[in-house]
């Protein structure tokens, strides 16, 4: 199945530092990991996981073998990078951050949560991952867990549209 994966700008894993074989005209080489849902495995995102792992470089990956969906991410035994999603560039990242900040203001002001509203703009320089969380966290403050999930779903839709993701 195909999925997505955020990497650092140099193509290494955000938490592992693992150097992924990058795709060129052809996909990158397959990477194997022993499927162990506890610790190792190839981590990737279905579209609904993307807002949780916002990073600077986005790739489409092909996963193979057993794939486990553990609610926050997909874990597979084998994977390779198919292509970089070129649409996810500096501009898209900045637009996403702005969209999340605006949503956060809307939610906070709608309920008169001034102290929450005050933390939004100072967080903007830290980027989209934080702002996406801030918006969802304020939605949770307003509507509980449902609000949090609804906001994350909205972020997923924004990314899906902007990047024209098929799966």
């Amino acid at each position: 199945m195909n999925a997505y994966k955020f990497l650092r700008p140099d193509g290494s894993g955000v938490f592992t530092g693992f150097r992924w074989p990058l795709p060129g005209r052809v996909p990158g080489a397959w990477v194997r990991a022993d499927l162990d849902p506890c610790h190792s495995g190839i981590h990737a995102c279905a579209p609904q996981h993307l807002p949780l792992w916002i990073g600077h470089a986005l790739y489409e990956v092909e996963l193979d073998g057993e794939v486990v969906d553990d609610a926050m991410k997909l874990v597979a035994s084998r994977g390779r990078l198919l292509r970089r999603i070129e649409g996810w560039d500096e501009q898209a990242y900045a637009d996403y951050t702005r969209m999340c900040a605006d949503r956060a203001h809307e939610l906070a002001r709608g309920r008169g949560l001034q102290n929450w509203d005050a933390v939004i703009e100072p967080s903007v320089p830290e980027g989209g991952a934080l702002l996406g969380f801030v918006a969802a966290r304020i939605a949770e403050e307003v509507d509980g867990e449902t609000g949090y999930h609804r906001e994350r779903a909205g972020q997923t839709e924004w990314l899906r549209d902007r990047l024209q993701l098929s799966s």
Binding site: F15, P37, L130, F133
Partner: protein, 83 residues
């Protein structure tokens, strides 16, 4: 399996950091932990401080055995063999 929270706070991170670096967190909790690191530079730096602390403490180890000590110990070993 316990229900993992949607998210954790920085104050939780500083208490879970040892379980995280020791790879003792259950998978779902490790995911929530890393999801926090993904958006929080402060906690990324905190985890890094902990890793650096481990490195600095590791520098305290002496590898060299003083020559006199080694000679003394070898003599003791030789004596024991003769007994």
């Amino acid at each position: 399996m316990s229900h993992s929270p949607l998210h954790i706070s920085c104050q939780d991170v500083v208490e879970l950091v040892t379980d995280y670096v020791e790879q003792a967190l259950p998978a779902e909790e490790a995911a929530v932990f890393e999801q926090h690191l993904n958006f929080c530079d402060g906690c990324v730096w905190y985890v890094d401080q902990v890793r650096k602390t481990i490195d600095v403490v590791g520098e305290l180890r002496t590898e060299d055995v003083p020559v006199e000590t080694k000679v003394k110990l070898l003599t003791a070993f030789r004596d024991w063999r003769r007994e």
